[in-house]
Subunit: 416 residues, 2 copies
């Protein structure tokens, strides 16, 4: 074990919150406490939390977590959403310099940031700034995103719990759809990656997940497969003509052949966030536009429009308080692993999750953590691999076998 | 016990499904089985289910439930949504005559219909038609509605589970809102009655449910309090100015002072259903319109609009597979009670739930069932009583104490 530099540790949370992001916060804290943080003579003095991520850090808005007792930490771990507060700020070089200065000012030598690929990029730049300044600052990114779009990992903490919500919601909503038939569209989060929308396939009965002809959703649209409006109308018409109903899952980030988001085309007056992205979540506009399209296109001449409804799962899908047990455990684990690395060697990096047995193996699901360089993950986006797709509106057996062990046990329902 | 007429029993489900409507179906079936239905010599020959309610019955689309074994019934009971299929048909006198003819044709002497106030009206008319024809037909309405708008009952099966969903969703979403501050609107089901929207108040920490100034939702709008658009903007501005964020729950059925639904005014091209109502559910239009209004009104001169998001909880709130234990038990109970009445005397009616101890009593929550005449409930709508409201945008202590024992235990979360 190399010698540790004396100073404080700081932890922040960034980006969209999840059901398990506080597990990672507690994982880091317990890892630092296990290394003796806060005890007399220990190089790690205090464990500080940033209020609303790096935005709070630069303003000196910090909370001391060192003396939290075990029951409080455990309650915190099972609390959904980012308890420290989050931020959408995506720091550039100048902002990272201010972050570094705040670290210097507050005697911070251990920097942990829980977030997605923007957050790992922040870690990378802060790390470079501190290296150039000759200031020893250990920087660890702790992965988190419901979108599952971080490269280098089998999956990312936060995704399995959100996927569980999507599967449960589609399961219940499909039963609603067969009870009161019509065309039902559910819009799922995922700007660039379709993993979360794809998880709707887990709503199908477990003995027939590959048969969209039997169970809903019958049609699944992800950003990785170009969305053709005319073909969409035909797909729905085909299912609706055969069954008198149709259950559809659509990613908020679906794009046409040129990569133009369907949402951006349809949403008028949409907000643009700090990253220059059009607001997709927190609005029912995409679902409503697709529903209106179907009502127009599928109304027979002189006849009545079909019953078409659209729901947008919205923010509750990322914070629903019924976390996947695998996700809760792994989210805690990646935080702990980062703390263990930071207190055991002169290292920076991010934590990746590896699947021990291959997808579809008869062996039970198991995972292990490993360190990756920050540059391996920072500001990169992972997409659904082609082998997870089956045509333009379904997922493959490989995806089902990939996703199923992550999301926990689903209920089994009776059909008449 | 009066003598029972020989014949079949039929059960149907109507209107919007719920998480526990199949509990009521199984309650009726097990009550009839306990009375000996299907056994040699028993007057109740077979237990039939209507496919999609009275619509299926008139077409002879029936399923025989008599020989379902106990494990299958128990799986059915915990399955959300209407397993027999539901219908939105609201029969008039002529339609009810066709229902009666179908009963005659299929030798039906026991008629059970699980649904809301429209369904109790159907029972009432079918009962009158059969009485006029001198045909003995015992008609029982079994109550169900997430809107909680049936008169004569403390509450209605289906409501507590939907209220549980709304409370859990608002609890998680409020944590999301304090993590990434902004103005957040959640639109909740409830065309005429605000009970379900009011249940959002249970999202507040249990030691301070009457303090919207501390916990969200800070503003709650129900159809029973006239909605004034200008006042709404002022309410939000006041909270937003004080906290930099605002969490709002709005009923889909909010109306202005003249009783005109705000949704109907804002939603263009809205569909009208078989009851002549504008489509409110299955669209994000109301929430989006309110969000757009706030963006326009709360943008400072020359400044940026505030971050405003709207989610519409949609259909998953009525079928979410995490039923309130009290609701599951009572939904089973009202079905069983109806079957027991129908097999023990020459009776028709509906089942009401009475609260044994008054609201706010130190005694534990308890309920009992009693029979009411069909005419006491049929086609009537119950609203939130004035004592459940606190001003125009909050609920009272009485409502909190009314609702809390119904929805089951809620998680307790840690705040920093």
């Amino acid at each position: 074990m190399s010698s540790l530099v004396d100073g404080n540790a700081v932890i922040g949370q960034s980006g969209g919150p999840t059901a398990v992001i506080n597990q990672s916060l507690v994982g880091v804290v317990e890892g630092l406490l296990a290394a003796g943080a806060g005890r007399p003579g220990n190089p790690i003095r205090r464990i500080l939390g940033m209020r609303h991520g790096v935005r709070g850090l630069t303003k000196g808005e910090l909370i001391d977590l060192t003396d939290f007792d075990r029951p409080r930490l455990e309650r915190l771990a099972v609390t959904p959403s980012a308890a420290l507060g989050s931020t959408r700020d995506k720091p550039d070089e100048a902002y990272c310099k201010r972050i570094f200065e705040a670290c210097e000012k507050h005697g911070i030598r251990y920097f942990f940031y829980v977030g997605g690929n923007d957050s790992s990029d922040t870690c990378r730049i802060v790390n470079e700034v501190s290296n150039r300044a000759g200031y020893e600052l250990r920087c660890f990114h702790v992965p988190k995103t419901v979108d599952n779009d971080l490269v280098g990992s089998d999956h990312t903490p936060g995704f399995p719990s959100a996927a569980r919500f999507v599967a449960m919601a589609c399961m219940a909503d499909f039963l609603d759809n067969i009870s009161l038939p019509g065309i039902k569209i559910n819009v799922v989060m995922g700007r660039h990656a379709g993993f979360l929308t794809a998880a709707s396939a887990l709503a199908r009965r477990s003995d027939r997940p590959f048969e969209p002809s039997t169970d809903g959703p019958q049609l699944i649209y992800v950003p990785e497969a170009p969305f053709d409006t005319e073909r969409f109308v035909q797909d729905v018409a085909q299912v609706y003509d055969a069954k008198g109903r149709c259950h559809v899952a659509v990613s908020e980030g679906i794009c046409d052949r040129d990569g133009t988001p369907i949402g951006a085309t349809l949403i008028k007056g949409g907000q643009v966030d700090a990253h220059g992205n059009v607001q997709l979540s927190g609005s029912g506009a995409l679902g409503d536009a697709l529903a209106d399209l179907l009502k127009v296109k599928l109304t027979p001449a002189g006849g009545k429009p079909p019953r078409v409804r659209a729901d947008t799962f919205g923010y509750i899908q990322r914070c629903w308080p019924d976390a996947s047990p695998v996700d809760a455990s792994e989210a805690r684990g990646v935080g702990r692993f980062a703390a263990d690395l930071a207190t055991s060697g002169d290292l920076d990096g991010t934590v990746a999750i590896e699947r021990v047995n291959p997808i579809g193996s008869a062996q039970p699901y198991a995972a292990r953590f490993r360190r990756l360089d920050l540059s391996a993950v920072a500001a990169k986006t992972r997409h659904m691999p082609p082998e997870f797709l089956d045509g333009h509106c379904n997922v493959s057996r490989a995806f089902i076998e990939y996703c199923r062990p992550l999301i926990g046990t689903l209920p089994i329902y009776e059909r008449l």
